[in-house]
């Protein structure tokens, strides 16, 4: 990574050729064959032949917990840190303006040690839990500690420097004790509108980041406790909804303030040296616990591949390929073989495959492990620079976060299903079908934007059918009730239901997705959409069938025909398109995939099949076709 001589912009982004992390000190990086590496381990790994399956242990592993801090004191410390993060989150939720915080919980809060290592994180948005460590490490790399002062707050959203995509804004506050930095408190949240080509900043046809809203490198929005008016003005001049953004930024800063206050109280009780020792031990303890979990997975190399359908600009499919190598109590998650970065905004920065890989492991592990930087140490994620999952400037990435994250999780789980088949479900519906729209409300004359989410079926799993209508793995959002929706936005909701038959057949059936039909009540609404699974269905496991496809279709006023965005608006993709104009009386129908089936449908309990028919989850025809139980139904 090379800055311009005046330090005002970046000349080039240097990354480790093996794992893809940014190299801030390129001059001192390890070099081999004209490529740079972050560590001896990465250099050695990259020199191995591709088929070498021998273990290459990670450096500095802590296989068991042997810290100086008593495990009881660790438990108390972790409880206190978790309580601080939760209270920070409560503060954000209660004071934020956008429903995306309070209803969708699309944010989280974390605490960091003086080196920027995450020591605790709030239990809010899962994609951010795994993504925050990288973001904060970047900030600490870029702003020298001696240029930080008590009362500073740093804001940052740059996807090329650890960020997740432009809407995700991090506010980080250094914590000072007696004039010395002792840690950081931070809050990260999805800001609903940050400028760019379309309302909601989710430009599904972007080919450069400049269409995806305002990009903010690490800068101080508050310095020594005082607002920096120049930064506030610059940020708020570039968004469509400055009032809401102001409120949301303030809420995130209030979260960081509370974290700072409470960490200082904690340090006062512990004493600084003991506090820092215990925090370091807590990371080691989490590492040991994650290692104990991985050790239960049989060692070996497990591969899996899935495809994204298109990117909004071209019709080509994009491959996500993973090889998970379990070597004793650690895992190498290698994304070699994944497509190169693409023209449309389905790319992701490195923080996404990192967060999604951690997410996948936590799904099959004892999830009570304290989430911190230590917990993720035994999982090494390798993503080549310039790949779909490690985007290079100035390629776009706004849709990669939402679309690729859940799919990466399930690609890793698909690989792990070969190692621990009793712990892994079939694929879920894999997307939220993000439907963004905005306009001027005909009744109030006020400008509005909204970000609609939709829920999918979970895959069938050993012992149970998949859940119906639950969000996919990257978030844990609540959908907006219809009565709130119609009161705020000029739509009439005509249908809001489960999609019968959308779950894949199996001994344990996939859950059902949801669907809705809405009719436009305004002269015009401008809408964009980012989704997937319209052409390639979620997969089943162990003989279970695939789930139904998702779809987003339109029926223009006066027409009798439902058709997708390719036909109606001349778009390239049925699932990723931007800036379509929906007019009074036009209808939109969004239907979501169910989950894949698990196990041979022939093994399904006939009573369960009869129950599914009686409850309308599957049709009589499906009962006959998929389960051969037609004749026996009375």
């Amino acid at each position: 990574m090379r800055f311009s001589p005046n330090g005002f912009y970046i000349d080039s982004y240097g990354k480790c050729a093996n794992c893809g992390v940014l190299l801030y000190d390129e001059d001192h990086a390890l070099r081999h064959d004209d490529r740079s590496f972050c560590s001896e381990w990465c250099l050695t790994w990259s020199k191995r032949p591709a088929d070498d399956a021998s273990p290459l242990p990670l450096e500095g592993a802590k296989h068991t917990y042997a810290g100086a801090t008593d495990v009881v004191d660790l438990k108390i410390l972790d409880g206190n840190l978790a309580s601080i993060c939760r209270d920070m989150g409560t503060t954000v939720m209660r004071t934020a303006y956008s429903p995306i915080f309070s209803e969708s919980l699309d944010f989280t809060c974390g605490l960091f040690d003086r080196r920027g290592e995450m020591i605790a994180v709030g239990d809010f948005c899962p994609s951010m839990i795994g993504g925050m460590p990288l973001i904060v490490r970047t900030i600490v790399e870029e702003i020298p500690l001696d240029e930080m002062h008590e009362g500073d707050v740093i804001v940052h959203n740059d996807p090329y420097r650890g960020g997740m995509h432009t809407p995700e804004h991090t506010f980080l506050k250094p914590i000072f004790l007696d004039g010395e930095i002792v840690g950081f408190a931070g809050a990260i949240g999805h800001i609903g509108e940050i400028g760019g080509m379309v309302p909601g900043s989710f430009y599904a046809e972007a080919t450069e980041i400049f269409a995806e809203g305002l990009r903010i490198p690490p800068v101080k929005i508050k310095a020594r406790g005082k607002d920096q008016p120049d930064v506030w003005r610059l940020m708020l001049a570039n968004v469509r909804t400055p009032r809401a953004n102001y409120g949301d930024y303030r809420a995130l800063i209030a979260g960081a303030d509370l974290g700072e206050r409470r960490v200082l109280e904690l340090i006062e009780r512990y004493g600084l040296a003991r506090f820092e020792r215990a925090c370091a031990d807590l990371l080691d303890y989490s590492e040991a616990r994650m290692r104990a979990e991985i050790a239960e997975v049989p060692s070996g190399s497990y591969g899996f591949t899935d495809v994204m359908e298109d990117d909004g600009i071209t019709v080509d499919t994009l491959t996500i390929n993973v090889k998970v190598m379990i070597q004793g109590d650690e895992a190498i998650v290698d994304y070699a073989g994944t497509s190169p970065q693409t023209r449309g905004p389905m790319n992701t920065p490195l923080s996404i495959p990192q967060a999604a890989s951690y997410n996948a492991f936590l799904q099959i592990c004892d999830f009570t492990i304290p989430k911190n930087a230590g917990c993720f140490r035994p999982i090494k994620v390798l993503v080549q620079p310039g790949s779909l999952l490690n985007v290079e400037f100035p390629a776009p990435s706004v849709g990669g976060n939402t679309e690729c994250h859940p799919r990466i999780v399930y690609t890793v789980l698909g690989a792990l299903a070969k190692a621990v088949p009793d712990r892994v479900p079939a694929a879920d519906g894999g997307t939220w079908s993000n439907f963004l729209f905005g306009g001027t409300h005909p009744e109030t004359g006020e400008y509005y934007t909204s970000y609609d989410l939709h829920t999918v079926g979970w895959g069938g799993r050993p012992g149970a059918d998949g859940n119906d209508a639950v969000g996919s793995m990257n978030g844990n959002c609540r959908t907006v009730p219809v009565e709130v929706y119609e009161t705020r936005y000029p739509w009439l909701v005509e249908d809001w239901s489960l999609v019968p038959g959308s779950g894949g057949a199996g001994e344990f059936r996939g859950g059902l997705g949801m669907q809705k039909t809405i009719r436009c009540l305004a002269p015009e609404i401008i809408a964009s959409h980012v989704g997937d699974r319209h052409q390639v269905p979620p997969w089943g496991l162990h003989g279970g069938g695939p789930a139904g496809l998702a779809s987003t279709v339109f029926k223009v006023a006066g027409s009798d025909v439902w058709a997708d965005a390719r036909t109606v608006y001349g778009k390239v993709s049925p699932s990723k398109f931007a800036h379509v104009t929906i007019r009074d009386g036009d209808r939109v129908h969004v239907a979501m995939s169910g989950g894949g089936g698990w196990g041979d449908p022939a093994r399904r309990d006939p009573e369960a099949v009869a129950h599914d028919v009686a409850e309308g989850y599957i049709s009589t025809a499906s009962a006959e076709r998929d389960y051969g139980s037609g004749e026996t139904t009375p």
Partner: protein
């Protein structure tokens, strides 16, 4: 007719508190519960009273509605929705209970999908009828349900019924004609507020428990009357008020959180008696702990309640938060030796190892026993002998791998339990914008007094209180309850476009509804009315409640309403936005009929020095200390002593750490402060 009786039916015990107006005397006792018919335990408890004819009132806290909901033992319910929306209770809100738990099973609503029906009708958010109700279709449905005879109750939830209830009211009329006797719950009457998913679940819950609650309440009334009681019989509602037993059958969902409210009512009166502004209550039981707040002398209410994850019940209730930690919480080691307490609990069966019912895993109660804080022979007034060796064996399973002594492991278990509690307590306080140091901590329930002093220490709370009869404090609170009716309705107006006439009409309708509710139960005098608004800045998602000092809106007084909101917002969040428009989400009205309260008896002043009844070896962080044990019944007003000390009574033990002291107040409450 001078006896007032509070009865709290719990899972293990049924508690009784009797106040004798004539003798100004308070007595408390308990009997084993009888889950098959809870009334049997009540009858057994009544045997303690010499002359049941003197009973003027009974207030009963019941778990019948809660248990029917939690254990899914309710009626088969038909759900009737607007065309296009029958799946609302199945879809819910799409979030999952935990981020990383692929084994989680999403909760089912209180009806089968085959029993969910749709009607052709639609109202929009302005109350405009887009599609009129098709009465023929309603009639056909009513006949079908009647003829099939499978469904035992009906829940109706039509879109925007809170703006325009006409269609729901018509549905009920038609059902009354075609299927009389089929109980029907209307969303407009149960919960006239926006967000159709929460309204759906609440209305379904009401219909679901209606038949079973009706049966139990009738059984209670008949059997107690047969036993010779002629006084007023009332049930405790989730909002902490009493309701005539015959009225409870109409909207049984109001009984969902009946029992735990008593402690909060008791706390409120104790706070007034002792001139304490802010109290946090902590009721530590076997499997869970209830936390509630009394702020500036007033209990807090909520309707943002989930019976379990994904099952919201939106009825007015005292804001009581339940934490899954209690005396039965199990201690365990993780794969690398870390020690955890909970979330699993040994419950009542097998219970802690020391109960001797076959439990082998160490619990918090076992740890307290090992530490000498519980007397094995005096548990539950000596009715149950605890097995110390079994407790030690259980604790050894987590102590041995570390080479710790059983005492050290027990201290660790108790410490982790206390820290979990403090985190939960702090979460409740912070969420409401409070500082723990501004609160006194009132603990009751069997295990509360064991932990109170540690909690004061951990949370930096200056003062702890243990009331009289801590084991029956909820039943005691019932004797203090008022009659109360709350009603809220979503209105969705903003300060920029406030329709004064509509607002006044809704407010009048709300006040008439709550007054009529109390009138029906015989309360016509001493009724006070409080109107309130739920407001927020436009675009925000959480509301603040603003009590109104006016009874009608006028052009002239509206400005003061908005000013009050800005002020209240600033008090809570330390900033406000005076130029923003304000959204009025709900209007509310509460009627309270004050019912005369027992006077708390005073304790006689005794010897200045309290004398311990015995001494025991008790383990504290400071080491094993020779600790005086006082009998609570021996204590007299004005006495005080320093920790380490224990106070033993019928169903609980109060622990005083070294460095803290205990004082007995005029009424016999124990107060712990830093020495």
């Amino acid at each position: 007719m001078s006896l007032h009786l509070g009865i709290d039916t719990g899972g293990t015990f049924t508690d009784f508190v009797l106040y004798d107006e004539a003798g100004r005397e308070l007595t408390a006792w308990k009997v084993l519960s009888t889950p098959s018919d809870p009334t049997d335990a009540i009858l057994r408890g009544l045997e303690t009273i010499d002359d049941v004819g003197r009973i003027a009132s009974i207030r009963l806290g019941t778990t019948v509605a809660t248990n029917a909901l939690l254990e899914r033992r309710g009626a088969r319910v038909a759900y009737v929705a607007t065309r296009g929306f029958r799946d609302v209770p199945f879809i819910q809100r799409g979030n999952r209970r935990a981020h990383y738990d692929l084994t989680w099973v999403k909760p089912k609503p209180f009806c089968l999908r085959r029993d969910a029906y749709e009607l052709n009708e639609r109202v929009d958010h302005h109350g405009t009828v887009l599609i009129p109700l098709d009465e023929t279709e309603v009639r056909a449905l009513a006949r079908k349900l009647r003829d099939e005879g499978e469904v035992q109750a009906v829940a109706v939830n039509l879109m925007f019924s809170f703006v325009r209830p006409d269609h729901e009211l018509s549905v009920r009329e038609i059902f009354a004609e075609e299927a009389p006797g089929l109980p029907i719950s209307l969303s407009y009457e149960i919960d006239p507020r926006w967000k159709e998913d929460q309204r759906a679940m609440t209305t379904l819950a009401d219909a679901y428990v209606k038949p079973i609650v009706g049966r139990q309440v009738r059984s209670f009334r008949e059997k107690v009357a047969a036993a010779g009681v002629t006084g007023r019989m009332a049930m405790m509602k989730s909002n902490g008020s009493e309701m005539a037993a015959e009225a409870a059958e109409e909207q049984p969902v109001h009984l969902a959180v009946s029992g735990p409210t008593g402690g909060v009512i008791g706390a409120k009166h104790l706070a007034a008696l002792k001139s304490i502004g802010n109290l946090a209550t902590l009721d530590i039981g076997g499997t869970s702990t209830d936390v509630a707040l009394v702020v500036k002398g007033v209990e807090r209410f909520t309707d943002d309640y989930e019976l379990e994850f994904g099952i919201p019940l939106r009825v007015p209730m005292i804001d009581i938060r339940t934490i899954g930690a209690g005396g039965g919480s199990i201690a365990s080691l993780d794969k690398v030796g870390g020690l955890h307490v909970g979330p699993h609990s040994a419950g009542a069966n097998p219970g802690p190892a020391c109960y001797g019912f076959g439990g082998t895993q160490p619990t918090v109660t076992d740890a307290n026993l090992v530490l000498g804080r519980i007397e094995p022979d005096a548990f539950l007034g000596g009715r149950m002998r605890l097995d110390v060796e079994a407790a030690r064996r259980a604790v050894a399973t987590v102590a041995n791998p570390h080479g710790w002594s059983v005492e050290r492991a027990s201290l660790a278990i108790v410490r982790i339990m206390n820290n979990n509690m403090v985190g939960a307590l702090r979460a409740v306080l912070v969420e409401q914008g409070h500082d723990p140091r501004d609160f006194a901590l009132l603990t009751y329930g069997g295990a509360g007094p064991l932990h109170v002093c540690d909690l004061l220490h951990e949370a930096n709370i200056p003062r702890g209180i243990i009331p009289n009869h801590p084991g029956q404090f909820s039943a005691y609170g019932f004797t203090m309850a008022d009659a109360r009716s709350d009603r809220r309705r979503s209105v969705l107006m903003s300060s920029r476009r406030f329709d004064i006439d509509r607002a006044n009409a809704i407010m009048e309708d709300l006040s008439e509804t709550v007054l009529a509710d109390l009138r029906r139960q015989g309360h016509t005098s001493d009724v006070t009315l409080q109107r309130s608004l739920q407001m927020r800045y436009l675009g925000q998602n959480y509301e603040l409640e603003l009590p109104l000092s006016i009874d009608r809106f006028t052009e002239a007084n509206l400005g003061s309403v908005w000013d009050d909101f800005h002020r209240v917002f600033e008090e809570r969040y330390r900033f406000n936005l005076p130029s923003e428009s304000i959204e009025v989400v709900d209007m509310g009205c509460t009627a309270v009929a004050a019912i005369s309260k027992p006077d708390l008896p005073r304790l006689p002043e005794g010897m200045p020095e309290a004398a311990p009844a015995s001494r025991r070896q008790v383990v504290f962080e400071e080491g094993t200390l020779d600790t005086p044990v006082y009998r609570r019944s021996d204590l007299a007003a004005g006495q005080s002593f320093a920790g380490p000390a224990l106070v033993d009574e019928d169903v609980s033990v109060t622990v005083v750490r070294p460095g803290y002291q205990l004082a007995v107040d005029d009424h016999g409450n124990l107060e712990i402060t830093r020495a």
